[in-house]
Structures are given as structure tokens and as C-alpha cells.
Homo-oligomer: 475 residues x 2
């Protein structure tokens, strides 16, 4: 009976399980607070400036695409695509990158050449590693050049733009690794990889920036059924990195030279390096045979920019410095637009994507360390009541200031304390205050106060705007 009573009591209590819910953002995502937003916007401003300096225009596409638009473009990574629920109507997926939507846009609008940038969020159901700046929702900053042009001129400009951006963000020393899918394919053929395994072996090589050769070799042989002899031959090649000297050495490699694809790729690489030299960025470029890039759609030059020796989680420098520093990537994809064109019309494209999240992690950590917090607002004037019952006068002053395009705030209290109002100026870095009280009203003036120096002076009400403009110009 006692037990029955207890059960009854328990049943009468509100159902806690129903009322409680988890207060969080979805796994792998985050909010940005105003301080983080100001850091992020600072970085975007520099990146957009570089894109515009190179004459790019911008477009926007929807955050989701028809599911079939994304199908067959990403190889092994396709499993990471977010699908929308089937609620009737079209089957949709969140965009995985900005490149496939760009290609769809070009085909749909029959555009043959364009230089565009696109800064927007993309979505990947990846294993998030948020401390290292890897998220499921993240921004990409893409710059692409589409059109039938002479070899390597747009390709070299992509290297130049990456260099300009990384320098302007002051992220320290970096290297832009370059390779070419044609060289990789030629190398695979020369090593005895069957053609139908090129993409899957390429995707194994891509893991070399995160893992050891022995693991990659095992994947090739055990998972992908490659002849160990072929794997070992690949192992020799992917150790190689260098500059023009390496290109010349490989052009002497008889096995490789039997593959026309390798020869073509190496000739292109020679040109690319020469143009990079003219652009003054050759010292930042490393021709690296281990660079493969995961995505299926690349057909020519591929890039990846890496910050040297950068570990942005101080204290954990010992573990995993490999692959942490990758901050930009891209390449040439000459056949992607054709996949969307009913007549398979080719629009060659090359582009790079800036990995802003990792850059942002670095900039944020640096800002935290510096302890000098920037402002998150740009308010210029705070309107202050010197005594009670001044609200209506404050509202009129605010109106006048806003209408003169002066960034103005005031207390949302009817009768705020003087000290609280001064405190609001100090806390938010507002440089000027306009003070109004009975004596100011009587004399048809306002008091102007410089917050930093605490200097105050009276100015005629009719000259207030002009006087404030002068003060602001002096700051």
C-alpha cells in the first residue's frame, strides 16, 4: 500500500523528461558571438579585397540543391552529404561545397567564362574536430576562373591569390603544395595501377597528409586490392617534392615518359612554376607528388596551402601537427560543368577555396592571447540624462543624431543613474557623450564630454551636430 501511494505521488509530479531538453547547437556546429563575428568579418574583408583586386564578381546559390545535382561528384566523400527529409516534393541535399553548385550555375545559365568568388557555408557530416577548426557547418571562400584560356595562366593566378590572402592575414610562414592529376594518373599507370583503380588509389594517397605511408600502403593493398609491387613503386614517387629541378628530373624518367598524361602534366607544371616565379611567389610553392586531393572532379593542377609548423591549440603541440595547417585547397576541374550540360559542352575551370574556419581558429586564439579586446559596436555618441525626467529630451536628441547619421545610443531606462550611463560609455568604448539636464535645456545648450579625457564643454544646441562631427574627426 505504501508503495502504491508512492507510485501515485510520483505519477502526479510533472513529467521531467518531457520538459527538459538539451540546450545546444547541433553536433559539429557553433554560434558566433559578437566578438567572434568581428574577428570573422575582419578576415572576410581581407579575403574579399584580394578577390576584388583580381577582378572577381560574386554570385550566390541556394544552401540546398536537388539531390541528383550532387550525386556522383564527390567519390568516397558522398556519404558525408546531408539529405533533407522527404516531406513531399523534390529530394534535396545541403551543398557539400561551392564548386558543384558553381558548375551547375554555369551550365544552367550557359556561361562560358566568368571569374567569380563565393563566400558561403557548406555542410559535411564529417567527424567534427572543433578544437582544430573542423566543423560540420563551415564557411568556404571560393575563387574560380572559368573559361577556355591558354595553359596555366589562370592556374598561376590562383596560387598568387592564395599567397596574397595568407600574407594579408599574417598567419606566418606557409607553403603552397602543387601537383597535377595528369601527373598522378601517369604515375599510377607507370607503376602498374589498373585504370579503373586510379581514383580509389588517388584517394588513398590523399591521406598521406594525415597518416603514415605504411597505413596508406596497407589500404591500397588490403582494401583496394592493389599489387604490392605497384604500391611500393608509388611509395617511391610520393616521397618526392621540389621545384623546377624535380620537374626536369621526372621528365627524364623513362617509365613516366611512356605515359603521355604524365608528360603533359609535367610540361604544364613547368609552365606553372615559371608563371609563379613571375608572380613573385615561387619561393612559396612546392611541387609535391604526395599531394592528391580527395575529390573526384579534379582533372589537372591541384593545390593545397599549408601553414608551416603551426599548431593552433597551444599546449598540445606534441600530438598531431600533421595536416593541421591546411588552410586552402583547390585545383582544375575541366569536366564538371560538362556533367551538367545536356550536350556535354566543356567549360574548363580552375579555382581555390580558402579554409576560413582554421584561419579563424588561429586568429581567435591570437586575439584571446593578446587580451586587448576589440569593440563589437561602433557607437560614437551616448546621450546622457543629468537628472530625472529627461527621457523625452533624450529621445529628441537621439532622433537628431540618428538623422544626422551619427551612431548613437542611450539608456533604455526612464531615469537611469548618471554613473551607470558613464559606465556604459566606458564599457563599450563609446568616445563621446551628450549630456542634457535642466540647466542645459534652460540655456538651449548641451554638454559635450570626451569620455577618455573627461573634458566637458557646453555647445549651443543648434551647433551640436557640427561640434560632434569635429570631435569625431579628431579621434
Amino acid at each position: 500500500e505504501e508503495v502504491a501511494k508512492l507510485l501515485e505521488l510520483k505519477a502526479s509530479l510533472p513529467d521531467e523528461g518531457q520538459k527538459k531538453f538539451v540546450l545546444k547547437t547541433p553536433k559539429g556546429t557553433r554560434d558566433f558571438n559578437p566578438y567572434q563575428m568581428s574577428i570573422r568579418e575582419g578576415a572576410f574583408t581581407k579575403i574579399i579585397a584580394a578577390f576584388k583586386r583580381h577582378g572577381a564578381e560574386t554570385i550566390d546559390t541556394p544552401v540546398f540543391e536537388l539531390k541528383e545535382t550532387l550525386t556522383g561528384k564527390y567519390g568516397e566523400d558522398s556519404k558525408l552529404i546531408y539529405d533533407l527529409a522527404d516531406q513531399g516534393g523534390e529530394l534535396l541535399s545541403l551543398r557539400y561545397d561551392l564548386t558543384v553548385p558553381f558548375a551547375r550555375y554555369l551550365a544552367m545559365n550557359k556561361i562560358n567564362n566568368i571569374k567569380r568568388y563565393h563566400i558561403a557555408k557548406v555542410y559535411r557530416r564529417d567527424n567534427p574536430a572543433m578544437t582544430r577548426g573542423r566543423y560540420r557547418e563551415f564557411y568556404q571562400c571560393d575563387f574560380d576562373i572559368a573559361g577556355q584560356f591558354d595553359p596555366m595562366i589562370p592556374d598561376a593566378e590562383c596560387v598568387k591569390i592564395v599567397a596574397e590572402i595568407l600574407e594579408s592575414l599574417e598567419l606566418g610562414d606557409y607553403v603552397v603544395k602543387v601537383n597535377d592529376r595528369k601527373i598522378l594518373d601517369g604515375m599510377f599507370a607507370a607503376c602498374g595501377v589498373p585504370e579503373d583503380k586510379f581514383r580509389s588509389i588517388c584517394s588513398a594517397v590523399d591521406k598521406l597528409d594525415k597518416t603514415f605511408w605504411s597505413d596508406v600502403r596497407a589500404e591500397m593493398i588490403d582494401e583496394k586490392g592493389l599489387d604490392p609491387v605497384a604500391a611500393d613503386k608509388i611509395g617511391k614517387y610520393v616521397e618526392l617534392k621540389g621545384g623546377l629541378d624535380l620537374v626536369d628530373k621526372l621528365l627524364q624518367d623513362e617509365n613516366l615518359m611512356k605515359e603521355s598524361s604524365a608528360k603533359q602534366g609535367l610540361e604544364d607544371m613547368k609552365l606553372l612554376l615559371k608563371y609563379c616565379e613571375l608572380f613573385g611567389v615561387l619561393d612559396k610553392v612546392s611541387f609535391d607528388l604526395s599531394l592528391a586531393r580527395g575529390l573526384d572532379y579534379y582533372t589537372g593542377v591541384i593545390y593545397e596551402a599549408v601553414l608551416l609548423g603551426f599548431s593552433h591549440t597551444p599546449g598540445s603541440e606534441s600530438e598531431e601537427t600533421i595536416g593541421v595547417g591546411s588552410v586552402a585547397g583547390g585545383g582544375r576541374y575541366d569536366k564538371l560543368v560538362g556533367m551538367f550540360d545536356p550536350k556535354n559542352k566543356v567549360v574548363p575551370c580552375v579555382g581555390v577555396s580558402i579554409g576560413i574556419e582554421r584561419i579563424f581558429s588561429i586568429l581567435e586564439a591570437r586575439a584571446m592571447a593578446s587580451e586587448k579586446k576589440g569593440r563589437t559596436t561602433s557607437t560614437e555618441v551616448y546621450v546622457i540624462s543629468a537628472q530625472k525626467n529627461m527621457l523625452e529630451h533624450r529621445l529628441q536628441l537621439c532622433k537628431e543624431l540618428w538623422d544626422s547619421d551619427i551612431k548613437t545610443e542611450q539608456s533604455y531606462k526612464k531615469n537611469p543613474k548618471m554613473l551607470d550611463q558613464f559606465q556604459a560609455c566606458e564599457n563599450n568604448g563609446i568616445p563621446l557623450a551628450v549630456i542634457i539636464g535642466d540647466s542645459e535645456i534652460k540655456n538651449n545648450v548641451v554638454k559635450l564630454r570626451i569620455i577618455e579625457t573627461r573634458a566637458e564643454r557646453e555647445v549651443p544646441r543648434s551647433e551640436m551636430i557640427e561640434e560632434i562631427r569635429k570631435e569625431l574627426a579628431n579621434l
Copy 2:
């Protein structure tokens, strides 16, 4: 036998059904081309300037939220929420507005007061009416003030900010309709609506801007089971609109004054209109008892800004001018943050959302009509080959210009024709050209050409940057 051959032939053809797919964006969505982007960015710049003028900071939240975060916030509109497919892990939905994520952000971070703006895309599985600027993916530009403040001071600032934005966008005459959920609830009670029907009757009243009273009345009685006598009483009230005079009249309405909620709402309205007068926007404000707003979460003042007599699809002026012009809306929602707080802590909020898509439709139609197309790039200098084999010199010149932060382009052809290069300048509105040829190289100069006047002059190579800066300053 003939037939068998034909069938064989047919089978050997590529399967057209598989290769063909629809080249389009999802229903209710669209791409923005560079020209549209430049219009959109122009509008955003003005809107952000207004938000910053009022001291707002900005935040960002993920495009999707936990499904349960959105549950129970939108009333009848909940059916329009996009869910993500269950691919294992959390159940997610695309955000329906920026207000609920904002409230979740405040509760999660225990923020008691903030003035923030947020410009981002939201998603509604609505019936799209794209010619009238109604999409399934669209931007919202939200400005909200959260905190425990004195009555109507932040509420009036929201009206002021909407007025500033609409004026700066030069959209023609407009009215900001205001009402208060407390007045509506008091009115419903006074008309004999049972309390559990307040929200559903409110949602019927909300349709008055799109449909006739007779239909709304039918919905109340037939669908929502309201007593026709009550409906007819409501019908009398919702015809009323005015200013302070109407507030005073309703304060004399004995039936209404029995409802403390109505009394409170009318006192607030009086204050709101007074503050609007001090902000110089009273002539734009209309206290309108038919304004209801669809969303469940409003608890006080509600707003809606409407462009007067605006039909942005010229030629279709006869049909449906009602409701087309709504370009901003919002209100007070004092209990939303508490819904996310484990201890139900109240953070009162008020805000407005600018309906940028409709505004964009108007601006775009106007730009189309004006026929003077703006530029979509801001390139300042085009580097031109005067003859063949100048590519390397051009690349060096580009490097020098980019490194001096001068916006520069060139042809991506190795040996472009002179005429094509001049044409590129004309087509893209590039004001200056730097021309290099054998004689310029020999004399260590470049030719500077003003595209518009076709004036050319030689400048020493070492003074090129300086001379270009001078020319650009004169433009």
C-alpha cells in the same frame, strides 16, 4: 527479326533516361547573378549602416537547429519547417526564422541584455510566389533588443529603425502598422472568445491583409468553432485604425476596459505613439486593430511595415495589390527566452525583421527599368599587350600592380588581340589600361591609357604605380 534488330539497336543506345536530369535550383529558391548580388549588397550595406547607427552588434547561429528547439514556437506555421533526413544522430530542422535561434542563443549563454542584428537565410516550405518576392529560402535582416527595460523605449526604437531603413532604400511612401497582442487578447475576451481559442482566432485575423473579412469570419465560425455573435463583434473592432485619437476612444470602451489586458495594452500604445512622435516618425505609424501577426510567440507590441500602393510587377496592378507591400514585421516576445531556460528565467525582447526579398524585387525591377547597368567588378587597371610574346611582361606588371593593391586584370590568352583587350576594358567599365610592347620595354616605360577619353601618355616604369594612383584619384 526486323523488330528484334531494332530492339537490339535501341538497347545499344545510351540510356537517355539515366543521363538526363533536371538542371534547376530547388522549388522556391534561386541563384543570384553578379548583377543581382551588387543590388543586394547595396541594400545590405544601407540596412547594416542603420543597425550600427543604433549601436547593434551581430551574431551568427547555425542554419539548422535541433528539431526540438523549433517545436512549439510557430503555431500553425510549424508544418512549413524543413526537416533534415534522419541519417543517424540528432534530429535537425532548418531554421524557420532568426528569432527562435536568437532566444536559444540568449538562454544558452545566459545573456540578459544585448542589442543585436543578424542577417541570414531562413527556410519555409511555403507555397512560393516568386514574382512577388516570396521564396522558400530567403534572407531576413533582424534587429532585436533584449533586456529588462522601461516600457516602450526599445519598442519605439524598432519603429524608428524601420523608418530609417525604408527611407534610406527610397522605396516610396509607407506606413508602419502597430498593434499589441495584449489589446487583441483583451478584445477577444471582450467579444466572448474563449481563452483557449485566442491564438487560433488571432491567426485567422492575421489573414485580413491577404483576404476579405467574410472569409476570415467563415474560418472563425466554421473551422474554429467560434460563436457568430463573437465573430461579428470582432469584425467591428478590426475595422478600426488611427492614432492617439483611436487609443483614447478605445480607453472609453466599457467592454474593453473590463479586460485588464486591453487596458494595459492601450496604455502602452499611448506611450509608444508618444515616443514615435519624439522620434519624428508618428506620421508613418498607424495603430491598426486588424494587425495580428501569425506567430505564436508575440506577447506585446506587434509591427508590420507596408509600402503604400506598391505593385512591383508592372502590368498586373489590377490583381492582388493587397498584402504585396509588406516589407518588415516584428514585435515583442517576452516569454520566448524563458521557454529555453531550465528555470524559466524571463528575458524580455522586442525586434523587427526586414523583408529583404520583397525589397530586393522592387530594387531589381527598378534597376532593370533604368537600363543603366551598374558594374559588378571594381577593376581599376587592365594590362594590355601591344604585340605578341608579351605574356611574361604582363605577368610581372600584374604582380607589381596587385602588390600595390591596385585592382588589376589582364587577358588569360597568351597572345590576345589588341582590339579584344580594349573591348574588355569597355565592356567591364575598367577606367585605365597599362600598355606594354617592345618599344616600351626598350625605353623602360609603359603607356597609360584613359579608356573613356582614349588619351595615352608614356610614364617611366619606375613611376607607374604613382602615376596610376594619381589618375585613379582623379576619376
